[in-house]
Amino acid sequence: MTSLPSSSAAPAVAKLAAAAAAPGHDAQAEVEAEAYERTHVHGVYEAIAPHFSATRHKPWPAVASFLQAQHPGSVGLDVGCGNGKYLRENPAVFMLGSDRSAALVALARSRLGRSDEVGGAQQQPAAKKRGETTKPDVAVAAATTTNAAAGSGMEFSHEGGAAISDVLVADGLSLPFRDRAVGFAICVAVVHHLSTRARRQEAIRQLLRCVKTGEAASGQVLVYVWALEQGNSRRGWDEGGEQDLLVPWVLKSKSQTQQSRTPRKGLDNQTKAEQDAVVANKSGEPPASTMPAGDGPAAGTGGVGHTDPVFQRYYHLYRKGELEEDVLAAGGVVITSGYERDNWWAVAANEAPPSQPEK
């Protein structure tokens, strides 16, 4: 994606970890970790959503086969669904996708094959009223399934009409799904964006809370994270290297017009804590590196001659065995795990059946 070098996030993350370890400072530490992620994860995805989405079409094979193996009529979660590329992978299951980024969820929804929110209806609310009323007291409008995404310059396939899957905006650490509600969950390239180990484990714990226990071939959670061991990758990371990194994303100028408004929102509303988190990051990247185009030069990003804005995303690169450790710490068991093209993955389940009887 970019030739810009990644940079260390270790000092910032060490500070977050130290804050978390300090007695009586749990709440404040959480606030600081959240603020750091808002700057180096959430704000970035809000800003780069369309560009990011345009690069995310191919499913990971391990994820695709996990989804294909689910029974027809299963209900599953995709936590951190991004642009929703996995929501139609298995059309026989009902997928509930969630993401922290509202911009990505809107893209995901448009990919599900509806026109009532992205295109015409947004500018013309009256358009939704045009359908016939089929139920007493309830106006039910006919929503057509034309290619709503066309307006955003994206290409989506809508084979089979509207998908049965659905999306919503939620934080992975405060998921709105009821306990034991679903048959399975996937969480792909998400957990590695959380800046403390406690938060990464909590994210896995939340996933496990939502899936059923006890049934055969049910209640499995697939977690997929970036690996430290990327010996074959041009990125140059490998065993023994630093695990906490800021990885640049260069926003190509041709798509800037689409996003000239979105980046400001999250970044202009920086709180004191956020700014502190940025300043605390002595990685050599000035805070300006997270500024979008239009807010002055996105200079100082190390890319000589670059005029495209550069966003720094935080990553914790998982070393071999670490994902399994986090699953265990989250109260789960590892069913199977493996490595796939620069990523570690694990299929986890709850350790014991719930103490409460099924209702």
Binding site: P72, G73, A92, F94, R109, G161, L168, L175
Partner: protein
Amino acid sequence: MKVLTLNFLTCAVKMCKASNDSFPLHPKDAELAKDDVEINLQLLVNVLPRIDWTALRTTSTELGFPELPEQPPTAEDLTSDEKMLQDLHTLLLETQMIEGKLVCGHCGHEYAVREGIANFLLPSHLV
């Protein structure tokens, strides 16, 4: 957001999860729309056991649909009764809540639904 989705949602506030009042969330000022989704008998039959029927009855009534029977239909009911199948399909998979709010019956927090997307991000004091 589909009615089926609502059947799996509770309040995002951790303390509310233990309370029966947090599920189902209550639609408020709901504006509905209808998608055109191909009917899939097998999927509906298989999804049925995943549904909390009591909660679905509550949601259905709150959204202004006719009252659902006390017991969920069986697979045989759905296979033999075309109207029942169509009605359930429409309710669960075709009906979309486009605008409005979802209210937690325990803490009272209101989650906005805009352009068909519910937003469960919490203000910092509720996290």
